[in-house]
Symmetry: C2
Subunit: 351 residues, 2 copies
């Protein structure tokens, strides 16, 4: 297969000697074709992509479509547990999964900075291809643009996801009822702390890895439990705090959580204390927050815990009429505090 | 409507005093919400977008889907005849139209550089909204990321388009037959020369404007002519030369064109001569190249010329067995030359 070698993409473009991206790679001519033929096509191999038209034509999906888009600008490009390529797949398929949609297709658009090593791009693309296979999605079309050195930052990726929503699924804030439970699928804050540790060169004794992962198979497992799922969100930028505030912002209820029930890795907790970060505001890339009916919630947790990504699933709170529009935390000392919407993000360029 | 004022978006975000994009606008918290509520929602106003879930759920489209994605990094952001916002809509809906698809939906992902004026972003977003309305598409979901000053270039936009392909349409290089005609919808090179003139501060006496425009209504007109359309492409990056070479690269035939029949504005031609540019390699953003059956081609041209975007439509060449895989031009002197695939793009960051 052109471009693949036993070292793993150290030489994705055999036709040219210069090992870096040049402006011409974004020019739509021979150099662009070389990137496509030698790098993208072998990695993302599928019939739809290979047709190489201006647009990719797909069979009738035959159901409600879910569509979502995200740009990824994470810095650095590689971090413990993943790279921008993994994020660009997981972040987008997870947004589909949170709508209850089965992820089917991704598009991938690259904005590359002149001078980026082709071997680096090769590693990123290989990671995307692997993540896409794991997530069960096909990368069906793409685009490459190149900007001059100093006008970009190595590699930005924008992915758009298309999925299909099964007939019976209706998720949304309008489905939430008083007394519903708030569930998280595992420990929070790992992604943000992993990025920060490598960015700042911090050493916490052990490596804290990003939790980046595709969540749809966990959603399938949750649906199989028979519990009534009202809505789901993945707490990425702004973390749990932003996600819960978004939820209460779109319904007539409030949410009360118990701080002590929120699962945290002890290393992440220690790192957050050291750095003055609020772990509830730190980004996650492989976790979900679900609002579910209390009935059958025990079954739900059992089902979730059987899944590798749900082993530490926990009920952390409840929907209440008491504080409409607010997120309130019961502290370990028995007091209560309002968790407000973060202004920005504690850590820029986390995803 | 929040954010709109009589001056036209000079103050899209009334809630903050600072007139520029800050990192927090990409943080997923309050500042991001302000951008969404005060800028994107009023401009792109539609029910699907307003649901603001992680993904947007759409009704069953009930046909073959066409999907395409492109990043836009044009420099400068504004140029005679348009701006990056227009391009980000037209470029993507045109790729759908070239597959014969009716454009339905767009997603829009912004990568903004810290320090971008909010009023500039407002102008771009307003242009996108206007172009989307004209093109008949809804912008149904989006994303905003912000990178530090010096790590981006003002504003990059990635749009993904979703359309539906009518049952009877089958376009593609495999539909092309020997003797088919090659048609262009109008004069070539206007977009590239417009960008270059403003970038380099050149004055050609009159302003050459970009041809940026949405092509689907012209495609509908062409289909109505009853002619057999085999395939279409829009000659953007790399211009006519790249497009024709892409076409011959995917079929067993060659294409012979007559140079003198390719429509060129005299100003564009003069500018290209002055600057040493090959007008066949200059980008267009509102033109199409179609391969069509000779039968009913006269009717096709009549129908095209009744459309504002097809007034200068012309047959420029023919599909031939004589030069398989090659694009050959008959020059005005009666000789023949091979038009090869450009290596990169004469003008970087043209779209």
């Amino acid at each position: 297969m052109p471009g693949l070698n036993s070292e793993g993409w150290t030489c994705p473009l055999p036709l040219r000697d210069y090992p870096r991206i040049v402006l011409g790679h974004g020019g739509g001519g021979k150099l662009t074709s070389e990137l496509i033929e030698n790098l993208f096509l072998p990695a993302f191999d599928n019939a739809a992509l290979t047709s190489l038209g201006d647009a990719t034509v797909l069979p009738n999906i035959g159901g409600r479509l879910a569509v979502t888009t995200d740009s990824y600008v994470v810095r650095p490009l590689f971090f413990p547990g993943g790279c921008i390529g993994d994020l660009a797949v997981h972040g987008t398929v997870n947004d589909l999964a949170m709508a209850g949609a089965r992820p089917l297709y991704l598009t991938a658009a690259f904005i590359l900075e002149e001078g980026l090593l082709l071997s680096t791009l090769g590693q990123i693309v290989r990671a995307m291809a692997r993540s896409a296979r794991e997530a069960g999605v096909k990368i069906i079309c793409g685009d490459t643009k190149v900007v001059e050195r100093g006008h970009g930052d190595g590699c930005f990726i924008t992915t758009t996801g298309v999925g299909v929503v099964p007939e019976e699924i209706v998720f949304g804030p309008d489905q939430v009822k008083e007394g519903d439970l708030v569930v998280v699928s595992g420990t929070l804050g790992n992604h943000g702390v992993a990025i920060l540790s490598v960015r700042e060169g911090l050493d916490f004794g052990t490596t804290i890895e990003s939790d980046t992962a595709p969540l749809y198979s966990l959603v399938v497992q949750m649906l199989a439990s028979g519990a009534s799922l009202r809505m789901m969100r993945d707490p990425t930028r702004g973390g749990l705090a932003a996600t819960l505030n978004e939820i209460v912002g779109r319904m007539e209820f409030g949410i009360e959580i118990e701080e002590s029930k929120v699962p945290l890795d002890s290393q992440v907790q220690a790192a957050c204390e050291l750095l003055g970060l609020d772990p509830f505001q730190v980004a996650n890339e492989g976790k979900l927050v679900a609002v579910v009916a209390e009935e059958k919630s025990e079954e739900l947790l059992q089902f979730m815990r059987q899944h590798p990504l749900g082993q530490k699933a926990a009920v952390i709170g409840r929907v209440t009429r008491e504080y409409p529009g607010l997120v309130v935390a019961k502290t370990s000392l028995g007091g209560r505090r309002v968790i407000s919407m973060p202004m920005g993000e504690q850590l820029p360029r986390i995803c």
